[in-house]
Symmetry: C2
Subunit: 218 residues, 2 copies
DNA sequence: AAATTTTTGAGACGCGCGTATCATATTGAT
DNA sequence: ATCAATATGATACGCGCGTCTCAAAAATTT
Protein backbone atom coordinates (compact mmCIF):
# COMPACT_ATOMS: atom_id res chain seq x y z
CA UNK A 1 0.00 0.00 0.00
CA UNK A 2 2.96 2.26 0.12
CA UNK A 3 5.10 1.35 -2.82
CA UNK A 4 2.62 2.56 -5.37
CA UNK A 5 4.97 3.90 -7.97
CA UNK A 6 2.16 4.64 -10.33
CA UNK A 7 0.40 7.91 -9.92
CA UNK A 8 -2.87 6.38 -10.84
CA UNK A 9 -5.43 5.38 -8.29
CA UNK A 10 -4.27 6.42 -4.83
CA UNK A 11 -6.16 9.05 -2.87
CA UNK A 12 -5.40 11.46 -0.07
CA UNK A 13 -3.14 14.49 0.13
CA UNK A 14 0.01 12.42 -0.17
CA UNK A 15 -0.91 10.97 -3.50
CA UNK A 16 -2.18 14.34 -4.61
CA UNK A 17 1.10 16.12 -4.01
CA UNK A 18 3.09 13.30 -5.52
CA UNK A 19 0.94 13.38 -8.62
CA UNK A 20 1.32 17.14 -8.85
CA UNK A 21 5.07 16.85 -8.68
CA UNK A 22 5.22 14.04 -11.18
CA UNK A 23 3.09 15.94 -13.65
CA UNK A 24 5.16 19.05 -13.19
CA UNK A 25 8.38 17.11 -13.63
CA UNK A 26 7.06 15.39 -16.73
CA UNK A 27 5.99 18.69 -18.23
CA UNK A 28 9.37 20.26 -17.54
CA UNK A 29 11.27 17.32 -18.95
CA UNK A 30 9.22 17.20 -22.11
CA UNK A 31 10.10 20.85 -22.52
CA UNK A 32 13.69 19.65 -22.76
CA UNK A 33 15.14 20.51 -19.38
CA UNK A 34 16.26 18.12 -16.68
CA UNK A 35 15.06 19.77 -13.52
CA UNK A 36 16.55 19.25 -10.11
CA UNK A 37 14.28 18.35 -7.25
CA UNK A 38 14.40 21.95 -6.11
CA UNK A 39 13.35 23.21 -9.50
CA UNK A 40 10.39 20.88 -9.63
CA UNK A 41 9.47 22.04 -6.14
CA UNK A 42 9.46 25.63 -7.25
CA UNK A 43 7.53 24.94 -10.44
CA UNK A 44 4.97 22.86 -8.55
CA UNK A 45 4.79 25.51 -5.84
CA UNK A 46 5.62 23.21 -2.98
CA UNK A 47 8.46 23.68 -0.57
CA UNK A 48 11.81 22.11 -1.17
CA UNK A 49 11.42 20.01 1.97
CA UNK A 50 8.15 18.54 0.77
CA UNK A 51 9.57 17.79 -2.64
CA UNK A 52 12.47 15.88 -1.15
CA UNK A 53 10.03 13.85 0.92
CA UNK A 54 8.57 12.31 -2.21
CA UNK A 55 11.63 12.21 -4.39
CA UNK A 56 14.79 11.95 -2.33
CA UNK A 57 16.99 12.68 -5.33
CA UNK A 58 16.93 13.72 -8.93
CA UNK A 59 17.49 10.07 -9.75
CA UNK A 60 14.20 9.05 -8.14
CA UNK A 61 12.46 11.82 -10.00
CA UNK A 62 13.85 10.80 -13.35
CA UNK A 63 13.10 7.16 -12.70
CA UNK A 64 9.47 8.03 -12.02
CA UNK A 65 9.15 10.06 -15.20
CA UNK A 66 10.88 7.32 -17.16
CA UNK A 67 8.29 4.84 -15.95
CA UNK A 68 5.70 7.34 -17.08
CA UNK A 69 7.22 7.59 -20.54
CA UNK A 70 7.80 3.87 -20.77
CA UNK A 71 4.15 3.02 -20.20
CA UNK A 72 2.89 2.62 -23.76
CA UNK A 73 6.08 0.89 -24.79
CA UNK A 74 6.01 -1.78 -22.13
CA UNK A 75 2.49 -2.82 -23.01
CA UNK A 76 3.32 -3.10 -26.68
CA UNK A 77 2.34 -6.19 -28.55
CA UNK A 78 1.99 -6.92 -32.20
CA UNK A 79 -0.57 -9.05 -33.94
CA UNK A 80 1.73 -9.93 -36.76
CA UNK A 81 3.51 -13.26 -36.88
CA UNK A 82 6.32 -11.93 -39.05
CA UNK A 83 9.39 -11.11 -37.05
CA UNK A 84 10.61 -8.31 -39.27
CA UNK A 85 7.19 -6.74 -39.24
CA UNK A 86 6.97 -7.07 -35.47
CA UNK A 87 10.31 -5.41 -34.97
CA UNK A 88 9.23 -2.58 -37.23
CA UNK A 89 6.04 -2.28 -35.19
CA UNK A 90 7.98 -2.12 -31.98
CA UNK A 91 10.23 0.59 -33.37
CA UNK A 92 7.23 2.53 -34.59
CA UNK A 93 5.75 2.41 -31.14
CA UNK A 94 8.88 3.06 -29.16
CA UNK A 95 10.85 5.62 -31.08
CA UNK A 96 8.32 8.46 -31.12
CA UNK A 97 7.77 7.90 -27.44
CA UNK A 98 11.48 7.95 -26.74
CA UNK A 99 11.77 11.14 -28.73
CA UNK A 100 8.92 12.75 -26.83
CA UNK A 101 10.69 11.90 -23.60
CA UNK A 102 14.14 12.50 -25.03
CA UNK A 103 15.37 14.66 -22.17
CA UNK A 104 14.05 12.18 -19.66
CA UNK A 105 15.72 9.19 -21.23
CA UNK A 106 18.95 11.06 -21.66
CA UNK A 107 18.84 12.06 -18.03
CA UNK A 108 18.25 8.44 -17.10
CA UNK A 109 21.22 7.35 -19.17
CA UNK A 110 23.32 10.02 -17.55
CA UNK A 111 22.29 8.91 -14.11
CA UNK A 112 22.98 5.27 -14.89
CA UNK A 113 26.46 6.29 -16.01
CA UNK A 114 26.82 8.10 -12.72
CA UNK A 115 25.84 4.98 -10.90
CA UNK A 116 28.29 2.90 -12.89
CA UNK A 117 31.10 5.30 -12.02
CA UNK A 118 30.19 5.25 -8.36
CA UNK A 119 30.02 1.50 -8.40
CA UNK A 120 33.52 1.36 -9.88
CA UNK A 121 34.79 3.71 -7.23
CA UNK A 122 33.13 1.79 -4.44
CA UNK A 123 31.22 4.91 -3.49
CA UNK A 124 27.87 3.36 -4.10
CA UNK A 125 25.90 4.68 -1.19
CA UNK A 126 22.19 4.06 -1.58
CA UNK A 127 20.53 1.36 -3.62
CA UNK A 128 18.32 3.03 -6.22
CA UNK A 129 19.45 0.70 -9.04
CA UNK A 130 18.30 1.99 -12.39
CA UNK A 131 16.53 -0.49 -14.60
CA UNK A 132 17.36 0.12 -18.28
CA UNK A 133 16.80 -3.53 -19.18
CA UNK A 134 13.37 -3.37 -20.72
CA UNK A 135 14.66 -3.59 -24.23
CA UNK A 136 15.88 -7.09 -23.53
CA UNK A 137 12.41 -8.47 -23.01
CA UNK A 138 10.77 -6.30 -25.62
CA UNK A 139 13.09 -7.30 -28.41
CA UNK A 140 12.98 -10.96 -27.53
CA UNK A 141 9.24 -10.70 -27.59
CA UNK A 142 9.36 -8.96 -30.96
CA UNK A 143 11.45 -11.67 -32.60
CA UNK A 144 9.67 -14.48 -30.79
CA UNK A 145 8.37 -15.91 -34.09
CA UNK A 146 11.97 -16.81 -34.92
CA UNK A 147 12.47 -18.75 -31.75
CA UNK A 148 11.87 -22.00 -33.56
CA UNK A 149 13.85 -21.18 -36.69
CA UNK A 150 17.01 -19.90 -35.07
CA UNK A 151 19.43 -21.66 -32.81
CA UNK A 152 19.05 -20.28 -29.27
CA UNK A 153 22.43 -18.60 -29.41
CA UNK A 154 21.61 -16.95 -32.73
CA UNK A 155 18.27 -15.86 -31.39
CA UNK A 156 19.93 -14.24 -28.45
CA UNK A 157 22.61 -12.67 -30.59
CA UNK A 158 19.98 -11.10 -32.81
CA UNK A 159 18.18 -9.69 -29.79
CA UNK A 160 21.45 -8.31 -28.50
CA UNK A 161 22.35 -6.74 -31.82
CA UNK A 162 18.91 -5.19 -32.12
CA UNK A 163 19.17 -3.74 -28.65
CA UNK A 164 22.15 -1.74 -29.90
CA UNK A 165 19.88 0.17 -32.22
CA UNK A 166 16.89 0.51 -29.99
CA UNK A 167 17.25 2.98 -27.12
CA UNK A 168 18.03 6.66 -26.69
CA UNK A 169 21.51 5.89 -27.88
CA UNK A 170 20.08 5.99 -31.39
CA UNK A 171 19.00 9.57 -30.90
CA UNK A 172 22.36 10.51 -29.47
CA UNK A 173 24.26 9.07 -32.38
CA UNK A 174 22.01 9.93 -35.29
CA UNK A 175 20.48 13.21 -34.19
CA UNK A 176 23.22 14.74 -32.08
CA UNK A 177 26.31 13.45 -33.83
CA UNK A 178 25.12 13.03 -37.40
CA UNK A 179 22.62 15.84 -37.25
CA UNK A 180 19.74 13.86 -38.73
CA UNK A 181 16.15 14.87 -38.18
CA UNK A 182 13.55 12.64 -36.56
CA UNK A 183 12.31 11.12 -39.78
CA UNK A 184 15.70 10.11 -41.07
CA UNK A 185 16.73 8.87 -37.68
CA UNK A 186 13.81 6.48 -37.57
CA UNK A 187 14.41 5.48 -41.14
CA UNK A 188 18.02 4.51 -40.49
CA UNK A 189 17.15 2.60 -37.34
CA UNK A 190 14.36 0.78 -39.14
CA UNK A 191 16.63 -0.17 -42.00
CA UNK A 192 19.33 -1.45 -39.68
CA UNK A 193 16.83 -3.44 -37.65
CA UNK A 194 15.35 -5.03 -40.73
CA UNK A 195 18.78 -5.80 -42.11
CA UNK A 196 19.80 -7.55 -38.91
CA UNK A 197 16.66 -9.64 -38.74
CA UNK A 198 17.00 -10.68 -42.36
CA UNK A 199 20.66 -11.47 -41.86
CA UNK A 200 19.95 -13.72 -38.91
CA UNK A 201 17.28 -15.56 -40.83
CA UNK A 202 19.41 -15.88 -43.94
CA UNK A 203 22.27 -17.31 -41.95
CA UNK A 204 20.11 -19.87 -40.28
CA UNK A 205 18.83 -21.01 -43.65
CA UNK A 206 22.27 -20.98 -45.13
CA UNK A 207 23.47 -23.20 -42.33
CA UNK A 208 22.33 -26.33 -44.06
CA UNK A 209 23.28 -25.51 -47.60
CA UNK A 210 23.95 -22.69 -50.00
CA UNK A 211 24.26 -19.02 -49.43
CA UNK A 212 20.69 -18.44 -48.48
CA UNK A 213 18.56 -17.31 -51.33
CA UNK A 214 14.80 -17.04 -51.00
CA UNK A 215 14.74 -15.40 -47.68
CA UNK A 216 11.31 -14.02 -47.13
CA UNK A 217 10.13 -15.41 -43.86
CA UNK A 218 6.50 -15.71 -43.25
CA UNK B 1 52.24 28.57 -29.25
CA UNK B 2 49.82 28.32 -26.43
CA UNK B 3 47.09 26.02 -27.66
CA UNK B 4 49.23 22.93 -27.50
CA UNK B 5 46.63 20.42 -26.46
CA UNK B 6 48.99 17.54 -26.87
CA UNK B 7 51.20 16.69 -23.99
CA UNK B 8 53.99 15.77 -26.33
CA UNK B 9 56.80 18.11 -27.08
CA UNK B 10 56.50 21.21 -24.93
CA UNK B 11 59.08 21.99 -22.30
CA UNK B 12 59.21 24.00 -19.13
CA UNK B 13 57.52 23.60 -15.75
CA UNK B 14 54.08 24.33 -17.14
CA UNK B 15 54.13 21.48 -19.58
CA UNK B 16 55.68 19.28 -16.93
CA UNK B 17 52.85 19.79 -14.47
CA UNK B 18 50.24 19.39 -17.13
CA UNK B 19 51.78 16.13 -18.25
CA UNK B 20 51.93 14.92 -14.68
CA UNK B 21 48.27 15.65 -14.18
CA UNK B 22 47.26 14.06 -17.44
CA UNK B 23 49.18 10.89 -16.66
CA UNK B 24 47.70 10.75 -13.20
CA UNK B 25 44.21 11.31 -14.54
CA UNK B 26 44.68 8.64 -17.19
CA UNK B 27 45.94 6.17 -14.64
CA UNK B 28 43.00 6.84 -12.33
CA UNK B 29 40.48 6.57 -15.12
CA UNK B 30 41.88 3.32 -16.41
CA UNK B 31 41.47 2.04 -12.87
CA UNK B 32 37.79 2.63 -13.39
CA UNK B 33 37.10 5.80 -11.47
CA UNK B 34 36.14 9.18 -12.85
CA UNK B 35 38.12 11.57 -10.71
CA UNK B 36 37.19 15.14 -10.06
CA UNK B 37 39.79 17.81 -10.64
CA UNK B 38 40.42 17.90 -6.91
CA UNK B 39 41.01 14.17 -6.78
CA UNK B 40 43.52 14.31 -9.58
CA UNK B 41 45.21 17.17 -7.79
CA UNK B 42 45.56 15.13 -4.65
CA UNK B 43 46.76 12.03 -6.50
CA UNK B 44 49.29 14.07 -8.47
CA UNK B 45 50.36 15.90 -5.32
CA UNK B 46 49.72 19.37 -6.60
CA UNK B 47 47.47 21.91 -5.00
CA UNK B 48 43.85 22.23 -6.02
CA UNK B 49 44.49 25.74 -7.28
CA UNK B 50 47.21 24.55 -9.62
CA UNK B 51 45.11 21.71 -10.90
CA UNK B 52 42.28 24.08 -11.78
CA UNK B 53 44.73 26.28 -13.65
CA UNK B 54 45.39 23.55 -16.18
CA UNK B 55 42.00 21.88 -16.25
CA UNK B 56 39.25 24.35 -15.38
CA UNK B 57 36.68 21.58 -15.05
CA UNK B 58 36.24 17.86 -14.99
CA UNK B 59 35.03 18.16 -18.57
CA UNK B 60 38.37 19.54 -19.74
CA UNK B 61 40.13 16.75 -17.90
CA UNK B 62 38.02 14.03 -19.44
CA UNK B 63 38.37 15.56 -22.89
CA UNK B 64 42.13 15.46 -22.57
CA UNK B 65 42.16 11.83 -21.49
CA UNK B 66 39.73 10.95 -24.26
CA UNK B 67 42.12 12.42 -26.81
CA UNK B 68 44.78 10.30 -25.20
CA UNK B 69 42.71 7.14 -25.51
CA UNK B 70 41.57 7.98 -29.00
CA UNK B 71 45.09 8.21 -30.35
CA UNK B 72 45.62 4.75 -31.85
CA UNK B 73 42.07 4.70 -33.13
CA UNK B 74 42.27 7.94 -35.05
CA UNK B 75 45.36 6.87 -36.93
CA UNK B 76 43.84 3.56 -37.93
CA UNK B 77 43.98 2.43 -41.49
CA UNK B 78 43.54 -0.89 -43.14
CA UNK B 79 45.41 -2.36 -46.06
CA UNK B 80 42.51 -4.47 -47.14
CA UNK B 81 40.30 -3.43 -50.01
CA UNK B 82 37.35 -5.44 -48.75
CA UNK B 83 34.84 -3.30 -46.91
CA UNK B 84 33.64 -5.98 -44.55
CA UNK B 85 37.19 -6.89 -43.70
CA UNK B 86 38.07 -3.24 -43.14
CA UNK B 87 35.16 -2.72 -40.81
CA UNK B 88 36.18 -5.79 -38.85
CA UNK B 89 39.71 -4.40 -38.68
CA UNK B 90 38.45 -1.10 -37.38
CA UNK B 91 36.39 -2.80 -34.73
CA UNK B 92 39.37 -4.93 -33.72
CA UNK B 93 41.43 -1.81 -33.29
CA UNK B 94 38.86 0.34 -31.62
CA UNK B 95 36.94 -1.88 -29.27
CA UNK B 96 39.80 -3.04 -27.05
CA UNK B 97 40.94 0.54 -26.79
CA UNK B 98 37.48 1.73 -25.88
CA UNK B 99 37.27 -0.98 -23.28
CA UNK B 100 40.63 -0.02 -21.83
CA UNK B 101 39.38 3.53 -21.51
CA UNK B 102 35.85 2.51 -20.63
CA UNK B 103 35.49 4.81 -17.64
CA UNK B 104 36.88 7.69 -19.65
CA UNK B 105 34.54 7.25 -22.57
CA UNK B 106 31.59 6.78 -20.29
CA UNK B 107 32.51 9.95 -18.46
CA UNK B 108 32.74 11.73 -21.80
CA UNK B 109 29.32 10.49 -22.79
CA UNK B 110 27.95 11.60 -19.46
CA UNK B 111 29.43 15.03 -19.88
CA UNK B 112 28.11 15.36 -23.41
CA UNK B 113 24.67 14.53 -22.06
CA UNK B 114 25.18 17.22 -19.47
CA UNK B 115 26.02 19.66 -22.19
CA UNK B 116 22.97 18.68 -24.18
CA UNK B 117 20.76 19.25 -21.17
CA UNK B 118 22.31 22.62 -20.49
CA UNK B 119 21.93 23.58 -24.11
CA UNK B 120 18.24 22.72 -23.95
CA UNK B 121 17.84 24.76 -20.81
CA UNK B 122 19.70 27.69 -22.30
CA UNK B 123 22.17 27.48 -19.44
CA UNK B 124 25.10 26.84 -21.68
CA UNK B 125 27.75 28.96 -20.05
CA UNK B 126 31.18 28.21 -21.46
CA UNK B 127 32.02 26.78 -24.84
CA UNK B 128 33.98 23.54 -24.33
CA UNK B 129 31.97 21.65 -26.99
CA UNK B 130 32.65 17.95 -26.80
CA UNK B 131 33.59 16.26 -30.02
CA UNK B 132 32.20 12.72 -30.19
CA UNK B 133 32.07 12.76 -33.98
CA UNK B 134 35.13 10.77 -34.87
CA UNK B 135 33.18 7.65 -35.67
CA UNK B 136 31.64 9.43 -38.62
CA UNK B 137 34.91 9.79 -40.47
CA UNK B 138 36.34 6.49 -39.32
CA UNK B 139 33.42 4.43 -40.51
CA UNK B 140 33.15 6.23 -43.82
CA UNK B 141 36.82 5.56 -44.29
CA UNK B 142 36.32 1.91 -43.41
CA UNK B 143 33.59 1.37 -45.98
CA UNK B 144 35.25 3.58 -48.57
CA UNK B 145 35.68 0.63 -50.96
CA UNK B 146 31.91 0.60 -51.33
CA UNK B 147 31.74 4.22 -52.35
CA UNK B 148 31.50 3.26 -55.98
CA UNK B 149 29.12 0.36 -55.58
CA UNK B 150 26.53 2.03 -53.38
CA UNK B 151 24.36 4.99 -54.07
CA UNK B 152 25.58 7.94 -51.97
CA UNK B 153 22.52 7.85 -49.77
CA UNK B 154 22.92 4.13 -49.14
CA UNK B 155 26.58 4.63 -48.42
CA UNK B 156 25.74 7.24 -45.86
CA UNK B 157 22.98 5.17 -44.37
CA UNK B 158 25.34 2.26 -43.90
CA UNK B 159 27.85 4.49 -42.16
CA UNK B 160 25.12 5.82 -39.92
CA UNK B 161 23.86 2.37 -39.06
CA UNK B 162 27.36 1.17 -38.31
CA UNK B 163 27.96 4.12 -36.04
CA UNK B 164 25.13 2.83 -33.87
CA UNK B 165 27.18 -0.23 -33.02
CA UNK B 166 30.56 1.38 -32.73
CA UNK B 167 31.07 3.52 -29.62
CA UNK B 168 30.93 3.06 -25.87
CA UNK B 169 27.21 2.62 -26.23
CA UNK B 170 27.97 -0.94 -27.25
CA UNK B 171 29.62 -1.59 -23.92
CA UNK B 172 26.75 -0.02 -22.04
CA UNK B 173 24.16 -2.13 -23.77
CA UNK B 174 25.94 -5.45 -24.06
CA UNK B 175 28.10 -5.49 -20.96
CA UNK B 176 26.05 -3.51 -18.49
CA UNK B 177 22.53 -4.37 -19.56
CA UNK B 178 22.95 -7.84 -21.04
CA UNK B 179 25.83 -8.80 -18.79
CA UNK B 180 28.07 -10.09 -21.57
CA UNK B 181 31.81 -10.37 -21.16
CA UNK B 182 34.31 -8.60 -23.38
CA UNK B 183 34.70 -11.44 -25.81
CA UNK B 184 31.02 -11.91 -26.46
CA UNK B 185 30.48 -8.19 -26.64
CA UNK B 186 32.98 -7.87 -29.44
CA UNK B 187 31.59 -10.92 -31.14
CA UNK B 188 28.07 -9.53 -31.22
CA UNK B 189 29.24 -6.14 -32.45
CA UNK B 190 31.34 -7.77 -35.14
CA UNK B 191 28.47 -9.91 -36.31
CA UNK B 192 26.10 -6.97 -36.46
CA UNK B 193 28.62 -4.86 -38.35
CA UNK B 194 29.25 -7.59 -40.86
CA UNK B 195 25.55 -8.20 -41.31
CA UNK B 196 24.90 -4.54 -42.01
CA UNK B 197 27.69 -4.29 -44.56
CA UNK B 198 26.52 -7.42 -46.34
CA UNK B 199 22.95 -6.20 -46.29
CA UNK B 200 23.88 -2.91 -47.88
CA UNK B 201 25.87 -4.64 -50.57
CA UNK B 202 23.18 -7.22 -51.23
CA UNK B 203 20.55 -4.54 -51.61
CA UNK B 204 22.59 -2.57 -54.08
CA UNK B 205 23.05 -5.70 -56.14
CA UNK B 206 19.49 -6.82 -55.84
CA UNK B 207 17.95 -3.59 -56.93
CA UNK B 208 18.74 -0.61 -59.00
CA UNK B 209 16.07 1.61 -57.54
CA UNK B 210 14.00 0.69 -54.48
CA UNK B 211 13.88 3.04 -51.66
CA UNK B 212 14.96 1.09 -48.69
CA UNK B 213 12.45 -0.37 -46.33
CA UNK B 214 11.25 -3.90 -46.70
CA UNK B 215 13.48 -4.98 -49.51
CA UNK B 216 13.73 -8.64 -50.18
CA UNK B 217 17.24 -9.92 -50.20
CA UNK B 218 17.97 -11.88 -53.29
C1' DA C 1 74.46 37.31 -7.63
C1' DA C 2 70.45 40.24 -8.01
C1' DA C 3 66.21 41.38 -10.00
C1' DT C 4 62.18 40.08 -12.49
C1' DT C 5 58.93 37.06 -14.20
C1' DT C 6 56.40 32.92 -13.73
C1' DT C 7 54.49 29.12 -11.19
C1' DT C 8 52.74 27.24 -7.04
C1' DG C 9 50.22 26.65 -2.56
C1' DA C 10 47.05 27.82 1.20
C1' DG C 11 43.02 29.69 2.46
C1' DA C 12 38.46 31.89 1.98
C1' DC C 13 34.21 32.56 -0.62
C1' DG C 14 29.72 31.63 -3.04
C1' DC C 15 26.64 28.19 -4.82
C1' DG C 16 23.62 24.22 -5.26
C1' DC C 17 22.45 19.66 -3.62
C1' DG C 18 20.77 16.60 -0.04
C1' DT C 19 19.63 16.27 5.05
C1' DA C 20 17.70 17.32 9.54
C1' DT C 21 14.86 19.95 12.82
C1' DC C 22 10.90 22.11 14.50
C1' DA C 23 6.85 24.89 14.29
C1' DT C 24 2.55 25.46 11.69
C1' DA C 25 -1.34 24.04 8.83
C1' DT C 26 -4.32 20.60 7.19
C1' DT C 27 -6.77 16.42 7.45
C1' DG C 28 -9.83 12.89 9.53
C1' DA C 29 -12.08 10.76 13.48
C1' DT C 30 -14.46 10.97 17.88
C1' DA D 1 -16.31 21.15 18.02
C1' DT D 2 -12.33 18.95 19.69
C1' DC D 3 -8.42 16.34 19.41
C1' DA D 4 -4.89 13.27 17.42
C1' DA D 5 -2.44 12.13 13.27
C1' DT D 6 -0.33 13.56 9.39
C1' DA D 7 1.38 16.76 5.74
C1' DT D 8 3.65 21.03 4.94
C1' DG D 9 6.90 25.02 5.17
C1' DA D 10 10.77 27.72 6.82
C1' DT D 11 15.27 27.46 8.30
C1' DA D 12 19.79 25.83 9.15
C1' DC D 13 23.63 22.59 8.39
C1' DG D 14 27.35 19.88 6.03
C1' DC D 15 29.56 18.81 1.72
C1' DG D 16 31.88 19.15 -2.71
C1' DC D 17 32.71 21.90 -6.78
C1' DG D 18 34.55 25.93 -9.00
C1' DT D 19 36.47 30.73 -8.25
C1' DC D 20 39.30 34.15 -6.29
C1' DT D 21 43.12 36.48 -3.67
C1' DC D 22 47.61 36.90 -2.06
C1' DA D 23 52.00 35.49 -0.32
C1' DA D 24 55.84 32.11 -0.95
C1' DA D 25 58.70 29.40 -4.03
C1' DA D 26 60.93 28.39 -8.32
C1' DA D 27 62.57 29.55 -12.76
C1' DT D 28 64.40 32.95 -16.02
C1' DT D 29 66.79 37.02 -17.19
C1' DT D 30 70.22 40.64 -16.60
Amino acid sequence: MERGTGLAAERGPRARTKRLMLETATRLMQAGVTPSVSEVAEAAEVSRATAYRYFPSQAALVQAVVDEGLGPILTWQSTSANAERRVADLFDTAMPRIEAFEATFKAALKLSLDQWARRQAGTLGGEPAFTRGHRVDLLQQAIAPLKGHLRPRDFKRLAQALSLIFGVEVLIVLKDIWGLDSRKTRSVAQWAAGALVRAAVAESIGEGGGDGSSVVVK
